[in-house]
Amino acid sequence: MIELKNIQKSYQTGYTKLEVLKGIDLHIEKGEFVSIMGSSGSGKSTLLNILGILDEYDTGEYRLDGTFINKQLTQKQAAIYRNQFIGFVFQSFNLLNFKTALENVALPLYYQKIDRKQRQKVAMEYLDRVGLRDWADHLPNQLSGGQQQRVAIARSMVARPKIILADEPTGALDSKTSFEVMKLFKEVNDEGITVLVVTHENDISKMTKRIIRLNDGIIGENILLENASTGAS
């Protein structure tokens, strides 16, 4: 599903060049449930941005579901790829606060030019799946943090992406809610969608099936966990 070959990325800050990713080789199969760990500054956010086609990479090769992702795409092409391939979940949920839960979930479908009725129908299905059917007409600020993140997860799934990228999805949640959210991710994964979670919490990463540890811009450890066998083969 994801193939990275010698991905390098550096930022120019003033006169100094900061090398963030120093050659990442990574292979993630379809249906995997992976966590990326690392201390702050290890480059995990940058890696996620490149995987999410939000940021460009300097050298290397990136294939997503067999499609070669050019290192310098036009903004339009990048937007189309994001819409087709990727679902995002963020630490601070990033829901549009003037739209209801249902409208938020339906947003990616709007950019797929699906008509309004169909959008709402599909969005309601996914909202039901995360257990929030009764909250469809609520605004984000009327929902708890856990509920908001579930809305965000429904939103990330609604366009049937190949892969869901979650950036510290439990960072703003208490441990009980975090556990529920991770359980939801596991259910999503069980349906065959590749899920990639960036986290710095060990107990969160232990709930995935594979841990990739980033160290100063290179991959340090790559651990397959026991529960991997229960996932998709």
Binding site: R82, K99, L107, Y111, D115, A159
Partner: protein, 415 residues
């Protein structure tokens, strides 16, 4: 193509940000309101003042004599010179630029009587040319003609107000063919005129009775004499120099000192008209400067608020981009929003200002001499609206382009 979904999305956004939309709209609303309202009021003032001229010739010249103030050629000061028909003939001979000329005479009269009604009105001896000069039109019958003059007929053309007073209580107030008694002599009413001037001036005009000049001279036993005259000058000539020429001719004919300003006096309507025209040019200029200024302020306000909105919406735009929004979809979203708001606000401003002007129009009615029929030039109103929409789009464009360049990585960075 009309993209219903896109508009739905824009309406949703507008509906959910009422204050923001209101503030944006207010500037534009006020700009167009001020422009249209000022222009309408200015036009009303102009119509009011210009209405006092009615169809009165604007190139007219009134001339009369007064007592001299300077001795000349052995003649003492304080002499009164009577104008005569010979003076008129001399002017006609010497000034081909004179288009119409109407020598006039007051006829002192007591009460004018018809049946049981009687009242005092001005009675004047006139010639046919008058109808081409003053702000009057024949409502019924005819005006004085050459045959009336030649035969010194006892006929009268009366103002509408005269008819109303003297023929009160009569069927249809039909005056034509009836007789009036002026100073013991019966005059046949042959015509009724109305004034085209507005307000009190118009009413004054219609309280006059015109009889042929020759008849007036005969009944007052002032053969050949006139009191004053009015003439118009061919449109191709300025009135000023001819005004001077006529006066100096009359001074010569009546042996008045060339430097005596009092001996022959004149009232030049063109000059008066020019001054008023100049005044209104000034008013129009101010109206345009103020109006365009407030319109510009409104447009700049919209641009400014749109810029702030984009800043405020950075996160939203970042989210939309992560969800797969293309830059062009972001540009069109911001742009359509700004154009929609400016258009609606501008249209509303146009509506309210026109409504207010209409209201003023009915409130003022015919009552005022200085304010009448305030009106809005629709072309100007619509032109302003078009300018507004285009400038709304232009001012929206900068923030929209800025919005399209929002980097989702930075926009979504958690604080």
């Amino acid at each position: 193509m009309f993209d219903f979904d896109k508009w739905q999305e824009i309406f949703d956004t507008i509906k959910k940000h009422k204050l923001r939309t209101f503030l944006t709209a207010l500037g534009v609303f006020w700009g167009i309101f001020m422009l249209v309202f000022l222009m309408g009021s200015g036009k009303g003032l102009e119509n009011g003042v210009m209405g006092q001229f009615g169809t009165h010739a604007t190139n007219a010249l009134y001339v009369w004599t007064q007592r001299t103030t300077m001795p000349y050629k052995g003649l003492p000061a304080g002499r009164y010179n009577q104008l005569t028909i010979d003076d008129i003939q001399a002017i006609e001979d010497n000034f081909p630029q004179v288009e119409y000329i109407a020598p006039r005479m007051f006829v002192p009269s007591g009460e004018i009587v018809h049946g049981n009604n009687s009242a005092a009105f001005d009675v004047r001896g006139e010639r046919p040319d008058l109808q081409h000069i003053e702000a009057m039109y024949i409502d019924e019958g005819r005006f004085i003609n050459e045959f009336d003059l030649k035969d010194r007929r006892k006929i009268a053309v009366i103002g509408n107000r005269v008819r109303e007073v003297l023929f009160e209580g009569e069927k249809d107030q039909n005056a034509i063919g009836k007789y009036l008694r002026i100073n013991g002599t019966d005059y046949l009413v042959v015509g009724i005129f109305k004034s085209s001037r507005k307000g009190e001036d118009g009413v004054d005009d219609e309280q006059t009775i015109y009889i042929p000049l020759t008849t007036a001279q005969q009944v007052t036993n002032r053969h050949n004499e006139i009191n004053w005259f009015v003439c118009t000058i061919n449109k191709n000539f300025r009135v000023d120099p001819i005004d001077e020429g006529i006066k100096s001719l009359l001074r010569k004919r009546h042996r008045i000192h060339p430097d005596d300003r009092q001996g022959v006096r004149s009232d030049n309507i063109e000059e008066e008209f020019r001054e008023i025209n100049g005044l209104f040019f000034g008013i129009r200029l101010i109206v345009w400067i103020v109006g365009i200024g407030s319109l510009l302020a409104g447009v700049i306000g919209v641009g400014n608020i749109m810029l702030i909105i984009v800043k405020e919406r950075t996160k939203e735009i970042g989210i939309r981009k992560a969800m797969g929004a293309t830059p062009s979809s972001i540009v069109s979203m911001i742009l359509l929003e700004s154009v929609f708001i400016t258009t609606m606000a501008g249209y509303f401003g146009l509506l309210v200002s026109t409504g207010l002007i209409l209201l003023m129009n009915t409130a003022v009615g015919e009552g005022s001499d200085f304010f009448a029929n305030p009106e809005v030039d629709m072309a100007v109103g619509l032109g302003a609206l078009v300018i507004l929409v285009i400038s709304g789009a232009l001012t929206g464009l900068i923030p929209a382009l800025q919005a399209s360049r929002v980097n989702p990585v930075i926009a979504l960075k958690d604080e």
